[in-house]
Amino acid sequence: MSAACRKFEKALARGEAALAGLEPHAAACPDCRAKLLLWKEISAAAPALRKSWESPHLLPGISRVLSAERAKAARQQPPPPRRRFAWVPAAAAAALFVLSMIGLSIFKPGESARDPLARPSFGKEPLLGDETLKEVEIAEANYLGSIEKLSQAASPLMANPDSAILVNYREKLQLLDSAIGDLRAQLAGNRFNTHLRKELLAMYQEKKRTLEEVVKEVKS
């Protein structure tokens, strides 16, 4: 036995494998044998360090804390998260609106669409309002302007028609002029009468179309 034997410490410094190799030496060296035995005893005695004691209040305490946490979380629960694509319908509606506006600006109603005759509301009321009457009079004036120009172009032909079709056109124009004359006479005492104004505008429209056809016929 050597009181100053340091082989165990040296083996310990080298690692676990070196300790295993110390066994033959330990068999002959009581000092190293005791140290090696203690080394093994540490592991053997360790499970005895396991602790066991009654904690009757621990589980109820944990349950209480968790219940409080749960209640707190329920109180502080944020509003449900907004759906990821919730903006899509709104964006689609906005895009549709923008496209509609662009379409309206491109396909803006022309002169003819401003014709009160084309308006669905025109004629529903028995009497015209001041604003509508003004619009109707403007439309009549426009028709009269067009009719005047077309009449100038067609009048030489209408005075001496050289074909049957032109004769028919002349008779139609005479009928239209007669109807226009009657309506004007009726409107003189009833300017706001919607029906009469509508009839008059229809007559003007028909006369204009007839004159256009006459001019077209002559040219062809």
């Binding site: 080394w39 540490i42 360790a46 396991r50 009654e54 944990i62 946490e69």
Partner: protein
Amino acid sequence: MQFGRPLEDRSRVLVFARKKEETLPESDRPGEPRDEDARLLEECRTGEISAFERLYELHGARMKSVAANLLGNLADAEDAVQESFLKVYRGAAAFRGAARLSTWIYRVLVNSCYDMLRRRRRRPVEVAAAGESRETAGFAVPASDHPLRLSLEACVRDLDPRRRAAFVLFEVEGFTHREVGDILGVPEGTSRTLLFEARRELQRLLSRRGIVAGARR
């Protein structure tokens, strides 16, 4: 220094340790499959308190023991266990299951113990005064109490926290090195290294106390 206990006592300690292992609940035994883990995790994710009570039934005793050995104080150990359950409750929904639930809760526990040790270092006077009375109150010591166990317990408390955790988890609680690695967040090899360093340090501390296997009988 002579510790006058005969050899039979030493073997009685070992017998006690073996008996203790046999009386452990099945799920607490090292290496037992824990099929209930996944189901229990799902229940924990829903925040069902009953699931946490079941978790306590399965692991509570072992968690208390781990915490008591890491903190050296039973009351603090209970606080650490309670704190861990709260953390597990809060984190269960986000837990993705890279580790098993049973490993994860011990990881949470060990970290809670580290936090408590850090807090204790910041207010040592206050804790030391309270600790004296709380140290072993209510602790059921084995009938065959032994100087080696007492000295070992005292020396374990002097270990560096990481080595102490590795020693407690592997040698005392019987986790495998793989489980210890998962719990401590280190590779398996590092767990082995930490354990070896712990045992080497314990050998040195015990020798300093005069506990040498040949001499104490």
